[in-house]
């Protein structure tokens, strides 16, 4: 794999579970991945497969109870995060590792001015006078291209449009120039024209600061346009990992393949419109009562006996293309 010194984040065998009244919920089950400086890693997967919990685990913000990180290691720039005590972790959060949450409206404190929220993030980690921090905040707002940043900094979240709020979140996350940025569905609520702007912005800043980026999304179009590497999750497990090109060109896992097939395409000139979309039949199994073998087996057209009995290991299919499927080799032909 990559050169060690270049690694920003190294996640090994991360396990996060929820202890719920309906049973043990393995939201993240043995997930490993790495992020290099300046690299974008996308995480995709069906709704509820554990993407957000993975992200929260990295920040050690999984709600406890009911959640708990029960195993694995998260190494950020050589520091084992899971071994830090709470106050040490606080020094890391927002400083070396930041997160942009899914919902910009509910993720900003409604009763604090935008500027103050950014100032807070700065001053928590950099000892500096309030005035200086305010200047940084305005500067950050300018950086995310909010017009009239000085005025906006004095406004409250509800006075900003959705797109601007999302930008303010980004400004806040980047205020301390973190080594790693986690963006959890940063554009879901936005119209595609705005989405394009925001994504472009994140990528620009990433390039400028050399930040590692973990991008969580269900929009494969976004993945294709932004990420270098992708991991696909299904029912709490990583089922496939590859460079973005390899994944789109040659998905090894039937679930990935199914996802790809479900994407409705915008008919560019000449492309005939298909009236019916491909779908993956069935639904995601409950994370409590996971089948013994491959969790996707019940919905998989390629499933064989073995799939129901044994969980397939992640195998490398060359060039770091990992997939967990007994029939990964045949997927392309059979499907």
């Amino acid at each position: 794999m990559a050169d060690k010194s270049d690694l920003v984040l190294d996640v090994k065998n991360l396990k996060t579970v929820f202890f719920t009244n309906s049973g043990l919920f393995k939201a993240v089950d043995d997930v490993s991945f790495t992020v290099k400086r300046g690299e974008t890693l996308a995480i995709v997967g069906e709704s509820g497969c554990g993407k957000s919990v993975t992200a929260l685990s990295l920040m050690r913000l999984v709600p406890d109870p009911p959640g708990r990180i029960v195993g694995g290691s998260v190494t950020l720039e050589g520091t084992e995060l899971l071994a830090l005590d709470e106050s040490e972790m606080r020094a890391v959060r927002g400083n070396r590792i930041s997160m942009i949450f899914q919902e910009p409206m509910t993720s900003l404190n409604p009763v604090m001015r935008i500027g103050d929220q950014i100032v807070e993030a700065v001053r928590l980690h950099r000892a500096m006078p309030a005035r200086e921090a305010r200047d940084i905040a305005v500067e950050m707002l300018r950086l995310v291209r909010i017009p009239e940043p000085a005025r906006r900094a004095r406004e409250y979240p509800h006075q900003l449009s959705g797109g601007m709020r999302q930008r303010a979140m980004i400004a806040m996350a980047l205020a301390c120039r973190p080594a790693l940025l986690i963006a959890d569905e940063p554009t879901t609520a936005l119209d595609v024209t705005i989405q394009a702007q925001i994504l472009a912005l994140i990528l620009d800043l990433q390039k400028e600061l050399g930040t590692g980026l973990v991008l969580i999304t269900h929009d494969l179009g976004v993945v294709a346009q932004t990420a270098q590497r992708v991991i696909v999750m299904y029912a709490g497990k990583k089922v496939e990992e590859a460079t973005v090109e390899a994944l789109f060109a040659d998905p090894k896992h039937p679930y990935t393949r199914g996802l790809m097939a479900s994407i409705p395409a915008v008919p560019a000139s000449g492309v005939p419109v298909q009236a019916r979309l491909n779908e993956i039949p069935g639904t995601v199994p409950s994370l409590v009562r996971l089948p013994k073998g491959c969790a996707f087996a019940p919905r998989c057209k390629l499933a064989i006996k073995r799939c129901e009995a044994e969980y397939p290991p992640l195998e490398d299919w060359g060039g770091g293309h990992l997939a967990a499927c007994w029939r990964a080799a045949e997927v392309a032909e059979v499907a």
Binding site: E46, V192, T226, F248, S262, P264, V266, A268, E279, T283
Partner: protein, 328 residues
């Protein structure tokens, strides 16, 4: 196509904005500001546009769930714009709505079966055994198991909830179903399930849909015609193929160009337009899009373009398109 089932003419809906600690009206949200379109029997009209541009308001006005400020709504030739609540009730049977947020539009304290059967009860169409049978049939129709009738909304997945909403809408055998972003909350595989269901139902029963979404690809798959809204107005409306092949309004073009293509080898994402969507309280003068439009000319700032036919039923509201038709 046959004659219009739904005809909306110059629909306007303004909300007053009262601001400051005083309650004085400081402005008006021009949520919908003069929208006209029609939907024919067996046809799907797609409606796309930025979040907050007034799509849901159109949808709810059509069903008279909000009172339009002005304009006319004709259902099957009859003007229902000013009907009283009671007079409207029989018409409710011919049009139904599937709401944007499936979970929020289901009463969390009612069993799914009761939710779907309720329209029948309310209109006195069925009761007792018959009610149960008909509800069960509806469940099957949308691909749910009748044994799930006793479950509560929170026990269903997103896609399933969406189906419950659809089943409820189908219960009265409406001719028009307004679908307000029925798939925006879903991921692609579930989204595909719902779209397919709607298409199947239309084929089987000849429903008409007013289909609202912000995902152009989804709209492309289900619609016969597509209307594009920007800030309370329709800026372009055309047959689906025509619109996607030949978008004439700069906003439509930007939308289409901004859709990220699920192909890492294709050209990288580059925002075509800059700036935020302006507020509907103080819409820009002239053409509302001129603040973000790459092609804007001086006239756009002062003159509001009308929706004009650029040929073949392809209507567009852009000054650059007048007469000739192309902006690029």
């Amino acid at each position: 196509m046959t004659e219009a089932l739904l005809e909306v003419t110059d629909l306007k809906k303004h909300y007053p904005v009262r601001a400051g600690v005083l309650r004085r009206q400081v402005g008006t949200v021009h949520a919908v500001d003069g929208v006209s379109f029609s939907v024919h029997t067996g046809e799907t009209l797609g409606l796309v546009g930025e979040s907050g541009c007034g799509k849901s308001t159109v949808a709810r006005s059509v069903l008279r769930l909000v009172e339009p400020t002005s304009g006319q709504i004709r259902l099957d030739g009859e003007d229902i714009t000013r009907l009283s609540k009671t007079a409207l009730r029989p018409h409710r049977r011919s049009m139904q709505i599937v709401f944007q947020d499936p979970f929020a539009s289901l009463n969390p304290r009612m069993a799914a079966g009761d939710i779907v059967g309720e329209p029948l009860t309310v209109h006195g169409l069925a009761s007792g055994k018959e009610l149960e049978a008909r509800t069960a049939k509806l469940f099957e129709q949308v691909g749910l198991r009748p044994d799930q009738m006793r479950n509560f909304p929170h026990q269903f997945s997103g896609g399933q909830r969406q189906r419950i909403c659809i089943a409820r809408a189908l219960a009265l055998g409406p001719r028009l179903i307004v679908c307000d972003e029925p798939v925006s909350a879903l991921d692609v595989s579930i989204q595909a399930q719902v779209i397919n269901l709607l298409i199947d139902l239309q084929k089987a029963h000849g429903f008409s849909y007013l289909f609202i979404a912000h995902d152009l690809a989804v709209v492309a798959h289900i619609s016969h015609r597509v209307a594009v809204m920007y800030l309370g107005r329709i800026v372009e409306i055309a047959g689906k193929d025509e619109l996607f092949r030949n978008p004439r309004h700069p906003y439509t073009q930007a939308l289409l160009a901004s859709v990220p293509v699920a192909n890492p080898f294709a050209k990288k994402l580059a925002p075509l337009v800059d700036g935020d969507v302006p507020s509907p309280v103080n819409p820009p003068s002239g053409c509302a899009f001129h603040t973000r439009c790459r092609f804007a000319i001086e006239r756009c700032k002062t003159e509001r373009p009308a929706l004009v036919d650029a040929g073949g039923g392809h209507q567009v509201a852009c000054l650059l398109n007048e007469g000739t038709g192309r902006s690029q």
